[in-house]
């Protein structure tokens, strides 16, 4: 479903993604694990047409996202690392907007919006503004929205960041259910080993822009002779702490948060 060959992304002198190749099969749940700044989000951005790769090739459902942009975009749904909802509109309006952008016919749009909002337990709050939602509700709404156009591939970039255990549990239950019933291919990144262990069929560990190990959870443990995924992870990435430099966007986000109250 996803095939990546020798993908590289350089920002000036810094190489964020260095000659990466991997493959994700149809109907598979594939997880990317890696420390901060390892290049996970950069890869997702390239897969989802938000960044142009420096070199290398990407095929998604047989399409090159750089040349067949529109078709490629139609075939995936994405939940970004940070929220991407329109806070000033209601949950239902956000769904409606997404449905129109993704060319979902009106009747189907209304039906599926209702079904998805009910599934993610947001139907009762459909006419409330998103800015009144809790973190967990926003995440659920984003996933519901990402599924509205029945994507073949669902990208989840650290979807459980900042969620309580209940919301996390519920979210993964939905994702697994979706994968089993609709055979949606899922590509996710996370920091939580237990989540990857529980949900993903295959895992790739990425560090300094390169894949340092990949396989099923059991294979990774065996390769590193450890008894937990966390042990395997630390064995291949080391124990030093990575610092991501804050960029302009982070600074703005802080200002924005101050202004919101």
């Amino acid at each position: 479903m996803i095939q990546v060959d020798n993908l590289t992304k350089k920002f000036d002198a810094f190489t964020a993604v260095n000659n990466i190749s991997f493959e994700v099969a149809k109907g598979e749940i594939f997880a990317f694990l890696g420390p901060n700044g390892a290049g996970k989000t950069t890869i997702i951005k390239m897969l989802t047409t938000l960044l142009r790769p420096t070199s290398g090739s990407i095929r998604m459902d047989g399409l090159d996202p750089m040349h067949k942009q529109k078709e490629a975009r139609q075939c995936f749904g994405i939940v970004f690392q940070d929220p991407s909802l329109d806070q000033e509109q209601t949950a239902l309006e956000n769904m409606e907007l997404h449905g129109i952008l993704y060319h979902v016919p009106r009747k189907l749009r209304i039906e599926r919006s209702e079904r998805l909002l009910k599934l993610f337990e947001l139907w009762d709050r459909r006419n409330d503004y998103v800015k009144q939602f809790s973190g967990g509700m926003k995440r659920r709404l984003e996933i519901a929205r990402g599924l509205l156009h029945t994507p073949k591939i669902l990208f989840l970039d650290e979807p459980t960041l900042g969620l309580d255990p209940q919301s996390r549990n519920q979210l993964w239950t939905h994702v697994k259910h979706l994968n089993e019933t609709e055979h949606t291919t899922v590509f996710l990144t996370t920091h939580y080993m237990d989540e990857a262990d529980r949900v993903a069929h295959r895992i790739a560990i990425i560090d300094h822009g390169q894949i340092v190990a990949q396989g099923t959870s059991a294979e990774l443990k065996e390769q590193t002779k450890t008894d937990s995924l966390e042990g395997a992870y630390l064995a291949v990435t080391g124990t030093s702490i990575r610092d991501e430099s804050a960029n302009a966007a982070d600074a703005m986000r802080q200002v924005a948060q101050m202004w919101r109250r």
């Binding site: 942009q69 975009r73 000033e88 907007l97 129109i100 952008l101 060319h103 703005m252 200002v255």
Partner: protein, 248 residues
């Protein structure tokens, strides 16, 4: 077409829903109108130029539309920060449609703001030369809105933080306003200033409004409309190009 419509509608919804903002954004032009319009009125009268209120109302309308439309473009900064921009950038829709929806939405909001301030002016005692001049003035309100909403979208595609925003306000938007002849006649100016005012897009918008509303032309109907039309095409073109190049 659906994409253009839904993004246009979004801009409108946001505007209608933020009542505080509507009042705040009308406050500034009203301040200019009262503070300068009535304050400088006697001096203007003694200089033999007639009523200053009559003279500056087209300028204040132009200013309202300018600020409102540029702001709506720069509001993309917030969508960038709160993430909504990404949602539209990964959608399977040509970027030009996203850009057009946003720009037309911003322009529509600016036209509404301009209309509201015109009503305030009429209440404050402004009288157009003929009542038919009011609908004609909307040609220029519309053109100013399109030109500057497109400029706003272009700027919004480039700047990424609050400092950039302040830079644009102080070194672009305020000069466009002050050098446009919104507050003073463009005749008998020092040569350098006269030259600069001719480079200012808003000069032609304000002149068009003033010509239509009170019959005082500096350029002419054809020049004003021609220049604004040309600039609208140029800014829409560059805006679409810059917007299509956004990477996150």
């Amino acid at each position: 077409m659906g994409a253009i419509y839904i993004l246009w509608l979004r801009e409108l919804k946001r505007y209608v829903r933020s009542r505080v903002q509507i009042i705040v954004s009308l406050g500034q032009p009203v301040l200019y109108l009262v503070g300068l319009g009535f304050g400088l009125g006697p001096v203007f009268q003694q200089a033999g130029k007639g009523s200053y209120l009559q003279f500056m109302v087209p300028g204040v309308i132009g200013m309202t539309v300018l600020f409102s439309s540029v702001f709506s473009g720069i509001a993309m900064l917030w969508d960038r920060q709160f993430g909504f921009l990404k949602e539209t950038l990964v959608a399977p829709v040509p970027r030009i449609q996203i850009m057009l929806g946003r720009t037309l939405g911003g322009a529509t909001v600016a036209i509404i703001q301009g209309t509201l301030i015109l009503i305030v002016c009429l209440v404050a005692g402004f009288r157009p030369q003929h009542w038919l001049a009011v609908p004609a003035a909307f040609i220029f309100v519309f053109m100013i809105a399109i030109v500057f909403a497109a400029l706003g979208t272009t700027i919004g595609s480039i700047i990424k933080d609050m400092q950039g925003f302040q830079l644009i306000m102080n070194f672009l938007v305020m000069p466009i306003f002050f050098l446009s002849g919104a507050l003073y006649p463009l005749t008998h100016l020092p040569r350098l200033l006269s030259f600069v005012t001719r480079l200012d897009p808003l000069s032609y918008g304000v002149d068009g409004l003033r010509g239509v509303l009170i019959g005082a032309w500096h350029f002419s109907f054809a020049i004003d409309l021609g220049v604004l039309g040309l600039l609208a095409a140029v800014f829409l073109g560059t805006g679409a190009w810059m917007f299509s190049r956004i990477q996150l």
